[in-house]
Protein backbone atom coordinates (compact mmCIF):
# COMPACT_ATOMS: atom_id res chain seq x y z
CA UNK A 1 0.00 0.00 0.00
CA UNK A 2 1.41 3.41 -0.93
CA UNK A 3 1.92 6.03 1.77
CA UNK A 4 -0.72 8.30 0.22
CA UNK A 5 -3.29 5.51 0.05
CA UNK A 6 -2.51 4.52 3.61
CA UNK A 7 -3.08 8.09 4.78
CA UNK A 8 -6.46 8.24 3.01
CA UNK A 9 -7.51 4.96 4.65
CA UNK A 10 -6.42 6.43 7.98
CA UNK A 11 -8.53 9.52 7.38
CA UNK A 12 -11.54 7.34 6.62
CA UNK A 13 -11.06 5.43 9.86
CA UNK A 14 -10.82 8.62 11.90
CA UNK A 15 -13.90 10.15 10.28
CA UNK A 16 -15.84 6.90 10.81
CA UNK A 17 -14.98 7.13 14.48
CA UNK A 18 -16.16 10.75 14.56
CA UNK A 19 -19.42 9.68 12.91
CA UNK A 20 -20.05 7.39 15.86
CA UNK A 21 -19.07 10.04 18.40
CA UNK A 22 -20.59 13.24 17.09
CA UNK A 23 -23.48 12.45 14.73
CA UNK A 24 -26.14 12.65 17.43
CA UNK A 25 -25.08 16.05 18.69
CA UNK A 26 -24.62 17.42 15.19
CA UNK A 27 -27.98 16.15 14.01
CA UNK A 28 -29.71 17.59 17.07
CA UNK A 29 -28.01 20.92 16.43
CA UNK A 30 -28.84 20.98 12.71
CA UNK A 31 -32.44 20.05 13.46
CA UNK A 32 -32.65 22.73 16.13
CA UNK A 33 -31.51 25.33 13.59
CA UNK A 34 -33.54 24.17 10.61
CA UNK A 35 -36.50 22.29 12.17
CA UNK A 36 -36.41 20.01 9.15
CA UNK A 37 -35.38 16.40 9.71
CA UNK A 38 -34.41 15.53 6.14
CA UNK A 39 -32.47 18.75 5.75
CA UNK A 40 -30.69 18.25 9.09
CA UNK A 41 -29.64 14.75 7.99
CA UNK A 42 -28.33 16.05 4.67
CA UNK A 43 -26.38 18.81 6.36
CA UNK A 44 -24.74 16.38 8.78
CA UNK A 45 -23.84 13.99 5.96
CA UNK A 46 -22.41 16.84 3.90
CA UNK A 47 -20.41 17.96 6.90
CA UNK A 48 -18.70 14.60 7.28
CA UNK A 49 -18.00 14.43 3.54
CA UNK A 50 -16.51 17.91 3.63
CA UNK A 51 -14.46 16.92 6.66
CA UNK A 52 -13.11 13.92 4.78
CA UNK A 53 -12.27 15.98 1.74
CA UNK A 54 -10.52 18.69 3.70
CA UNK A 55 -9.03 16.46 6.37
CA UNK A 56 -5.56 17.87 5.69
CA UNK A 57 -6.76 21.26 6.89
CA UNK A 58 -7.73 19.86 10.27
CA UNK A 59 -5.25 20.99 12.87
CA UNK A 60 -4.59 18.17 15.27
CA UNK A 61 -4.33 20.55 18.22
CA UNK A 62 -7.96 21.63 17.81
CA UNK A 63 -10.92 19.56 18.96
CA UNK A 64 -12.58 17.48 16.21
CA UNK A 65 -15.97 18.39 17.62
CA UNK A 66 -15.24 22.13 17.32
CA UNK A 67 -13.96 21.68 13.77
CA UNK A 68 -16.97 19.60 12.70
CA UNK A 69 -19.45 22.04 14.23
CA UNK A 70 -17.76 24.95 12.47
CA UNK A 71 -18.19 23.12 9.14
CA UNK A 72 -21.79 22.27 10.04
CA UNK A 73 -22.58 25.87 10.96
CA UNK A 74 -21.16 27.03 7.63
CA UNK A 75 -23.33 24.46 5.85
CA UNK A 76 -26.42 25.69 7.71
CA UNK A 77 -25.66 29.31 6.83
CA UNK A 78 -24.97 28.37 3.19
CA UNK A 79 -28.34 26.66 3.08
CA UNK A 80 -30.14 29.81 4.23
CA UNK A 81 -28.13 31.99 1.84
CA UNK A 82 -29.15 29.74 -1.01
CA UNK A 83 -32.76 29.76 0.17
CA UNK A 84 -32.64 33.54 0.21
CA UNK A 85 -31.40 33.73 -3.37
CA UNK A 86 -34.27 31.62 -4.72
CA UNK A 87 -37.27 33.53 -3.43
CA UNK A 88 -40.85 32.50 -3.89
CA UNK A 89 -42.84 35.46 -2.64
CA UNK A 90 -46.54 35.83 -3.15
CA UNK A 91 -46.90 39.62 -3.27
CA UNK A 92 -50.62 39.52 -2.52
CA UNK A 93 -50.05 37.74 0.77
CA UNK A 94 -46.72 39.38 1.50
CA UNK A 95 -47.72 42.90 0.57
CA UNK A 96 -48.28 45.62 3.10
CA UNK A 97 -51.92 45.93 1.99
CA UNK A 98 -52.64 42.83 4.06
CA UNK A 99 -52.03 44.94 7.18
CA UNK A 100 -52.58 48.53 6.09
CA UNK A 101 -55.38 50.29 4.19
CA UNK A 102 -55.15 52.84 1.37
CA UNK A 103 -54.49 55.54 3.95
CA UNK A 104 -51.46 53.59 5.19
CA UNK A 105 -53.18 52.98 8.50
CA UNK A 106 -53.67 49.66 10.28
CA UNK A 107 -56.60 47.65 8.99
CA UNK A 108 -59.10 47.22 11.81
CA UNK A 109 -58.84 43.42 11.85
CA UNK A 110 -55.02 43.46 11.88
CA UNK A 111 -54.43 46.06 14.56
CA UNK A 112 -51.95 44.89 17.19
CA UNK A 113 -53.69 43.91 20.41
CA UNK A 114 -52.36 44.07 23.93
CA UNK A 115 -50.35 40.96 24.75
CA UNK A 116 -50.73 39.72 28.27
CA UNK A 117 -47.26 38.46 28.79
CA UNK A 118 -44.90 38.98 31.64
CA UNK A 119 -43.32 35.62 30.99
CA UNK A 120 -39.60 36.18 30.63
CA UNK A 121 -38.97 32.47 30.01
CA UNK A 122 -41.55 31.98 27.31
CA UNK A 123 -39.20 29.75 25.31
CA UNK A 124 -39.28 27.21 28.12
CA UNK A 125 -42.88 26.54 27.15
CA UNK A 126 -42.87 23.74 24.53
CA UNK A 127 -46.35 24.73 23.30
CA UNK A 128 -45.17 28.24 22.57
CA UNK A 129 -42.12 26.91 20.74
CA UNK A 130 -44.37 24.79 18.53
CA UNK A 131 -46.50 27.80 17.65
CA UNK A 132 -43.40 29.89 16.98
CA UNK A 133 -41.96 27.27 14.63
CA UNK A 134 -45.33 26.94 12.92
CA UNK A 135 -45.53 30.70 12.38
CA UNK A 136 -41.94 30.90 11.14
CA UNK A 137 -42.54 28.19 8.59
CA UNK A 138 -45.50 30.11 7.19
CA UNK A 139 -43.09 32.84 6.07
CA UNK A 140 -41.92 32.80 2.45
CA UNK A 141 -38.62 30.92 2.17
CA UNK A 142 -36.39 33.92 1.54
CA UNK A 143 -37.84 35.91 4.45
CA UNK A 144 -37.34 32.96 6.76
CA UNK A 145 -33.80 32.64 5.43
CA UNK A 146 -33.09 36.32 6.15
CA UNK A 147 -34.49 35.99 9.68
CA UNK A 148 -32.46 32.87 10.36
CA UNK A 149 -29.28 34.34 8.90
CA UNK A 150 -29.63 37.41 11.08
CA UNK A 151 -30.20 35.47 14.26
CA UNK A 152 -27.99 32.46 13.48
CA UNK A 153 -24.92 34.45 12.67
CA UNK A 154 -25.28 37.31 15.14
CA UNK A 155 -24.26 39.64 12.36
CA UNK A 156 -24.84 43.35 12.12
CA UNK A 157 -27.40 44.43 9.54
CA UNK A 158 -24.77 45.96 7.25
CA UNK A 159 -22.72 42.74 7.23
CA UNK A 160 -25.76 40.66 6.28
CA UNK A 161 -26.48 43.06 3.43
CA UNK A 162 -22.95 42.58 2.15
CA UNK A 163 -23.29 38.84 2.52
CA UNK A 164 -26.61 38.67 0.69
CA UNK A 165 -25.71 41.42 -1.75
CA UNK A 166 -28.77 43.48 -0.93
CA UNK A 167 -29.15 47.09 0.13
CA UNK A 168 -29.86 47.98 3.77
CA UNK A 169 -33.34 49.18 2.81
CA UNK A 170 -34.04 45.82 1.11
CA UNK A 171 -32.98 44.06 4.27
CA UNK A 172 -35.06 46.00 6.75
CA UNK A 173 -38.05 45.89 4.40
CA UNK A 174 -37.77 42.09 4.35
CA UNK A 175 -37.45 42.02 8.14
CA UNK A 176 -40.38 44.43 8.40
CA UNK A 177 -42.67 42.21 6.36
CA UNK A 178 -41.46 39.04 8.04
CA UNK A 179 -42.00 40.51 11.51
CA UNK A 180 -45.46 41.85 10.59
CA UNK A 181 -46.53 38.35 9.61
CA UNK A 182 -44.78 36.61 12.48
CA UNK A 183 -46.27 39.02 15.00
CA UNK A 184 -49.73 38.62 13.55
CA UNK A 185 -49.48 34.82 13.54
CA UNK A 186 -48.24 34.69 17.14
CA UNK A 187 -50.98 37.06 18.25
CA UNK A 188 -53.69 34.94 16.62
CA UNK A 189 -52.32 31.61 17.77
CA UNK A 190 -50.84 32.38 21.16
CA UNK A 191 -51.14 35.79 22.71
CA UNK A 192 -54.87 36.11 22.02
CA UNK A 193 -55.62 32.86 23.86
Amino acid sequence: MSAAKGAVTGHHAIIREWVQLYTNGMYAWAYHKTTDKALAEDLVQDTFLAALQSFDKFKQESQPKTWLFSILNNKISDHFRQQFRHPVVNETEGGLSFFFDEEDEWRKERRPQTWNTTDTHILDNPDFRKILQHCMHLLPGNWLAAVKLKYLEEKEGKDICQDLQITPSNFWQIMHRAKLHLRNCLENNWFKK
Binding site: V19, Y27, E41, L123, Y151, L152
Partner: protein, 91 residues
Protein backbone atom coordinates in the same frame (compact mmCIF):
# COMPACT_ATOMS: atom_id res chain seq x y z
CA UNK B 1 -55.57 68.36 9.33
CA UNK B 2 -55.29 64.57 9.46
CA UNK B 3 -53.20 64.58 6.30
CA UNK B 4 -50.88 67.23 7.65
CA UNK B 5 -50.44 65.32 10.86
CA UNK B 6 -49.72 62.16 8.92
CA UNK B 7 -47.03 63.92 6.94
CA UNK B 8 -45.43 65.26 10.07
CA UNK B 9 -45.74 62.14 12.14
CA UNK B 10 -45.32 59.46 9.42
CA UNK B 11 -47.88 56.95 8.13
CA UNK B 12 -48.08 53.65 10.05
CA UNK B 13 -46.48 51.72 7.18
CA UNK B 14 -43.33 53.84 7.39
CA UNK B 15 -43.40 54.03 11.19
CA UNK B 16 -43.42 50.23 11.53
CA UNK B 17 -40.68 49.99 8.93
CA UNK B 18 -38.60 52.46 10.94
CA UNK B 19 -39.19 50.39 14.07
CA UNK B 20 -37.45 47.51 12.30
CA UNK B 21 -34.74 49.76 10.92
CA UNK B 22 -34.10 50.94 14.47
CA UNK B 23 -33.51 47.34 15.59
CA UNK B 24 -31.15 46.31 12.79
CA UNK B 25 -29.52 49.62 11.87
CA UNK B 26 -29.38 53.04 13.39
CA UNK B 27 -31.94 55.76 12.96
CA UNK B 28 -30.86 59.34 12.41
CA UNK B 29 -31.74 61.84 15.13
CA UNK B 30 -34.57 63.20 12.98
CA UNK B 31 -35.94 59.71 12.27
CA UNK B 32 -35.80 58.92 15.97
CA UNK B 33 -37.73 62.06 16.80
CA UNK B 34 -40.38 61.38 14.15
CA UNK B 35 -40.79 57.80 15.29
CA UNK B 36 -40.98 58.89 18.92
CA UNK B 37 -43.73 61.37 18.09
CA UNK B 38 -45.59 58.82 15.98
CA UNK B 39 -45.55 56.05 18.59
CA UNK B 40 -46.55 58.62 21.21
CA UNK B 41 -49.71 59.34 19.25
CA UNK B 42 -50.42 55.95 17.66
CA UNK B 43 -51.26 53.25 20.19
CA UNK B 44 -51.16 50.52 17.53
CA UNK B 45 -47.65 51.31 16.36
CA UNK B 46 -46.59 51.69 19.98
CA UNK B 47 -47.86 48.13 20.60
CA UNK B 48 -46.20 46.94 17.42
CA UNK B 49 -42.92 48.38 18.65
CA UNK B 50 -43.21 46.53 21.96
CA UNK B 51 -44.11 43.28 20.21
CA UNK B 52 -41.32 43.67 17.68
CA UNK B 53 -38.73 44.14 20.42
CA UNK B 54 -40.09 41.11 22.28
CA UNK B 55 -39.88 39.05 19.08
CA UNK B 56 -36.31 40.25 18.57
CA UNK B 57 -35.42 39.05 22.07
CA UNK B 58 -37.19 35.70 21.58
CA UNK B 59 -35.51 35.05 18.22
CA UNK B 60 -32.11 36.01 19.60
CA UNK B 61 -32.54 33.59 22.49
CA UNK B 62 -34.00 30.84 20.31
CA UNK B 63 -31.05 30.76 17.96
CA UNK B 64 -28.35 31.03 20.54
CA UNK B 65 -29.45 28.55 23.11
CA UNK B 66 -27.28 25.49 23.26
CA UNK B 67 -29.01 23.63 26.04
CA UNK B 68 -32.18 22.36 24.43
CA UNK B 69 -31.50 20.90 21.02
CA UNK B 70 -33.95 18.10 20.41
CA UNK B 71 -32.24 14.73 20.65
CA UNK B 72 -32.92 12.39 17.75
CA UNK B 73 -34.58 9.04 18.48
CA UNK B 74 -32.26 6.08 18.91
CA UNK B 75 -33.34 4.30 15.74
CA UNK B 76 -32.92 7.54 13.79
CA UNK B 77 -29.42 7.97 15.19
CA UNK B 78 -28.37 4.47 14.16
CA UNK B 79 -29.86 4.78 10.68
CA UNK B 80 -28.20 8.12 10.09
CA UNK B 81 -24.80 6.88 11.25
CA UNK B 82 -25.08 3.94 8.88
CA UNK B 83 -26.13 6.16 6.00
CA UNK B 84 -23.18 8.49 6.57
CA UNK B 85 -20.71 5.64 6.89
CA UNK B 86 -21.95 4.15 3.61
CA UNK B 87 -21.64 7.48 1.87
CA UNK B 88 -18.12 7.94 3.19
CA UNK B 89 -17.14 4.55 1.80
CA UNK B 90 -18.08 5.72 -1.68
CA UNK B 91 -15.74 8.72 -1.41
Amino acid sequence: MKRVLKKIFLPCTIATEMIEKDIYFKLSALEKLRLFLHTGLCGMCHRYQKHSRLLHRILTELHHEHEHPQAPKEEEQAALKEKITNRLEKN
